[in-house]
C-alpha cells in the first residue's frame, strides 16, 4: 500500500475515534462544559493534561531545536517541565479548593474587583490566542504535506474536528478525546525513537541510548556527535548555550512560571474531585509529559548524528569524504521535494558539503579543501522528527503514525486553548460582568457560541497568519509569566495584597514585558518600528526578548507589594476566603456560583 493511502487510513481512524468519543461525552450542564463535571480521575486528568500541554511545537519542533542547539536547548526541556512543580505546590491545589470554573473568576473574587477580572481576561486572551495560531498553522501544514490536500482544506478539516468535539462536549468531550490523543501521540513519538536508538547504540531505551556507546566504536553518542560537528566548524554540542548563561537562566525561569501561569493548563486541575487529587494529578501529568521530554534529547542528538553522517561519509577534507549527491539516500531526495532540505552544488563537484560557514577558521579550511560554501542551504529543524522514520528505515505505517501523532498534538492543544478563551468570554465577561442574571442553560449555549466564535477566529488567523505570529508564540509564556502567575500566587500566599496592588502589578508586569519585546522586535512586530535594535548588545544584561517574562513577573511582584504597603488591606471576608482555600477540608464540586 502506498504511503498516502496508508496515512489516510491511520489519520482517518484516529479522527473517527475522536468523533466517537465526542458523541459519547456530550455536556449537559455548565459544570460539564467548563470542568467536565469535576469527576475526572487524577491519572486520567494527568494524561489529558499531557496532551493539552504538548503541542505541535513539542511534538515536531522541539527535537529539532535540541539537535541544532544541543545543551543550549535545555531551556525548553527544564522550562516546560519545571513549571509543573510550581503548579503542584503553589497553585493547583488551592485553585481546586476555591472550586470555581475559570482563572479570571478566581482573580475577580480574590481581589474583589470586576476590573481585576477583566484585566485577567485580557491577559488570558492575549496569551491564548498567540498560542492557538501556531496550532492551527501546524494542522494545515501537516495536512498539506502528508495528505496532499491544500493548506486551506487541511485547516478546514482540522477546524471541523475540533468544532465537533469541543462544541458538543466542552471540557468533558475535550478531556476524553485528549486521553485518546495522548496515547496516539506518545506511541507515534516513541516507536521511531526506540528504533533509531537500537540502530545507533543497540539500546532500546532512548534515554539510556543517548548515554551509551555507538555500536562498533569506543565512543559514546555524545562524544561522537561532538567530534563530527566540531570537525565541520559547528559549536560543541554538550556545552554551548544559545546566548549566554544569564539568558539561559532567565529564559528557563520564564518558561517555568509561564507554564504554571497558562490558563488552559491550570483549568485542567479544576476537573479532579479533590484537593489531594490536584496535587497528585500534576505529578501524573509530568509522568506523561516526561515520557516525551526525556526521549526528545535522544531523538535530537541521534537524528543530528544520522544527518551529519549521511552527508560526511569519510574524513573531513578528503577527496571521498563527502557523499555524492547521486548516491544520497532516498529520504534525502523525498525531503528535498518538500523544500525542508535544500542543496545547491556550489563548487560543482557533485558531492554535498555541509559545514558552518559562519566560523572563520572553518571557512579558511574549507577554501583549502576546494569547497565553495555550505551547500545545504536549508535544513529545516522540523525534519529531525518528521524524517526520523525514513532515516531509521522504518515501514510506512510508522510514518503514517507520526502524521497522526503530530495532528493529535496540535488538535488537543488547540481544543484546550479554545475552551479557555470561550469560557473567559461566556463565564467571565457575559455571566460575570455583563449579564449576571443569565440562566444556566443560556450560559451553556453562550459557551457553545463563544467556542464557535473562537474556532472561527483561530481559523481566520490560520488562513491569514499575521506577520507577527511566529514571534508571538514564544512570548505567550512571557505574557502569562508576567501577569497571571504572580496574581494567582499572591492571591494565595499573600493575604494582605488588595485589589489596587494586584491590578497595578498585572498591568505593569505585562506592560514591561510587552514594551521590552516591542522595543527590540518592533511595535506589534512591525519591522522598522523597533526603537532599539534586536541585537545582543542592546539587550538588558543580554536577556533575549523571549526570555524577559521572568523580569516582568519580578516587576509585577515588586509593584504589587509596594502598593499593598500603602493601600488598605483586603476586607475581612476576603482574608477569610484566603484562609479557607489554604486548607483542603470542605472542597465541594466546582460550581459557578
Amino acid at each position: 500500500m502506498d504511503l498516502t493511502t496508508l496515512t489516510y487510513i491511520v489519520v482517518g481512524a484516529t479522527f473517527a475515534l475522536y468523533l466517537g468519543i465526542a458523541v459519547w461525552a456530550r455536556a449537559g450542564s455548565t459544570g460539564e462544559f467548563y470542568v467536565a463535571g469535576g469527576g475526572v480521575h487524577p491519572v486520567a486528568n494527568g494524561m489529558a493534561t499531557g496532551a493539552d500541554w504538548m503541542s505541535a511545537a513539542s511534538f515536531i519542533s522541539m527535537a529539532g531545536l535540541i539537535a541544532y542547539n544541543g545543551y543550549g536547548a535545555s531551556v525548553f526541556l527544564m522550562g516546560w517541565t519545571g513549571g509543573y512543580v510550581l503548579l503542584a505546590m503553589l497553585l493547583a491545589p488551592y485553585l481546586r479548593k476555591f472550586g470555581k470554573f475559570t482563572v479570571p473568576e478566581f482573580i475577580g473574587d480574590r481581589y474583589y474587583s470586576q476590573t481585576a477580572r477583566i484585566v485577567a481576561v485580557v491577559c488570558l486572551i492575549l496569551a491564548s490566542i498567540t498560542y492557538v495560531i501556531g496550532q492551527m498553522k501546524g494542522i494545515g501544514v501537516a495536512f498539506s504535506r502528508f495528505l496532499e490536500t491544500d493548506y486551506d482544506t487541511g485547516l478546514f478539516i482540522g477546524m471541523g474536528i475540533v468544532f465537533f468535539y469541543s462544541v458538543l462536549g466542552g471540557m468533558k468531550g475535550i478531556t476524553y478525546t485528549q486521553i485518546a490523543q495522548y496515547v496516539v501521540l506518545i506511541f507515534a513519538y516513541t516507536v521511531p525513537a526506540v528504533f533509531i536508538s537500537l540502530n545507533i547504540t543497540g539500546n532500546p531505551f532512548p534515554q539510556l541510548g543517548l548515554g551509551s556507546t555507538v555500536t562498533g566504536t569506543e565512543l559514546t553518542v555524545l562524544e561522537k556527535l561532538n567530534m563530527v560537528i566540531t570537525d565541520l566548524g559547528f559549536n560543541d554540542y554538550t556545552t554551548s548555550t544559545m546566548s549566554g548563561k544569564l539568558d539561559m537562566f532567565v529564559y528557563t525561569l520564564t518558561l517555568m512560571i509561564g507554564t504554571a501561569g497558562l490558563p488552559h493548563v491550570i483549568v485542567r486541575f479544576f476537573t479532579v474531585p479533590k484537593v489531594a487529587d490536584a496535587r497528585k494529578s500534576a505529578g501524573w501529568a509530568l509522568v506523561f509529559i516526561a515520557a516525551l521530554y526525556t526521549t526528545a534529547p535522544a531523538v535530537g542528538a541521534m537524528a543530528r548524528l544520522n544527518l551529519m553522517q549521511t552527508i560526511q561519509i569519510g574524513e573531513v577534507g578528503s577527496a571521498e569524504g563527502n557523499v555524492k549527491y547521486d548516491e544520497a539516500p532516498q529520504w534525502f531526495r523525498n525531503w528535498e521535494k518538500t523544500g525542508l532540505l535544500k542543496f545547491e552544488d556550489k563548487n560543482g563537484d557533485g558531492r554535498i558539503q555541509y559545514y558552518n560557514e559562519k566560523n572563520p577558521e572553518m571557512v579558511k579550511k574549507a577554501a583549502e579543501y576546494g569547497w565553495a560554501g555550505n551547500e545545504m542551504t536549508k535544513v529545516d529543524l522540523d525534519i529531525m522528527v518528521l524524517a526520523n522514520p525514513e532515516i531509521a528505515q522504518l515501514p510506512n505505517w510508522v510514518i503514517a503514525l507520526v502524521v497522526a501523532g503530530g495532528l493529535a498534538a496540535a488538535l488537543s492543544t488547540a481544543a484546550g486553548l479554545l475552551l479557555a478563551i470561550a469560557s473567559a468570554i461566556s463565564h467571565d465577561l457575559l455571566k460575570g460582568v455583563f449579564m449576571p442574571s443569565i440562566s444556566e442553560k443560556a450560559e451553556l449555549n453562550a459557551g457553545r457560541v463563544a467556542m464557535i466564535g473562537a474556532i472561527l477566529m483561530a481559523g481566520y488567523f490560520g488562513l491569514h497568519p499575521p506577520g507577527f505570529a511566529a514571534g508571538t508564540v514564544a512570548i505567550a509564556f512571557g505574557l502569562a509569566a508576567a501577569s497571571i502567575f504572580p496574581a494567582l500566587m499572591m492571591g494565595i500566599f499573600a493575604k494582605k495584597v488588595g485589589s489596587t496592588a494586584a491590578i497595578a502589578g498585572m498591568v505593569s508586569g505585562i506592560g514591561v514585558t510587552m514594551l521590552y519585546v516591542f522595543q527590540h522586535k518592533g511595535i506589534m512586530f512591525i519591522p522598522g518600528t523597533e526603537f532599539l535594535g534586536d541585537m545582543g548588545a542592546n539587550w538588558f544584561f543580554g536577556i533575549s526578548p523571549n526570555a524577559f517574562g521572568a523580569v516582568g513577573a519580578l516587576v509585577n511582584f515588586v509593584v504589587a507589594f509596594a502598593i499593598a504597603k500603602v493601600t488598605a488591606e483586603p476586607p475581612e471576608h476576603i482574608q477569610h476566603l484566603v484562609e479557607e482555600i489554604r486548607i483542603p477540608k470542605g472542597a465541594g464540586a466546582a460550581t459557578g456560583h
Binding site: Y71, V85, T252, T294, R582
Partner: protein, 85 residues
C-alpha cells in the same frame, strides 16, 4: 479549626514547600545551568553530569518532588485534621 492550629498547619506546609523548591532550584538552575561546567568533568555513563542534569536528571527530580510533596502534604493534612472525607 482554631486559628492557632490553622497557623501551624500553614507553617508546616510552607516548610515542606521551601524544602521542595530548594531542591527544585538546585537540580535545574544549580546543577543544570550554574554548575554545569564543573559537573561535566564527572561522567554518568556516557553523559557529562551537568549535561545530564540539564536534559534528563532535572526532569526526574521534578517528578519525584511532586509525588513526595503530595505524599507529605497528605500526612500533614491528616495530622491537622484538615483532610477531605
Amino acid at each position: 479549626m482554631s486559628n492557632k492550629s490553622m497557623a501551624e498547619y500553614w507553617k508546616a506546609n510552607l516548610r515542606l514547600l521551601t524544602l521542595c523548591l530548594v531542591i527544585w532550584f538546585v537540580a535545574s538552575f544549580g546543577f543544570g545551568i550554574l554548575l554545569a561546567e564543573p559537573l561535566n568533568s564527572i561522567m554518568l555513563g556516557g553523559y557529562p553530569l551537568g549535561f545530564w542534569f540539564a536534559q534528563q536528571g532535572s526532569i526526574y527530580v521534578f517528578l519525584v518532588l511532586i509525588f513526595f510533596y503530595a505524599w507529605r502534604m497528605g500526612k500533614i493534612d491528616r495530622e491537622y485534621d484538615v483532610h477531605e472525607d
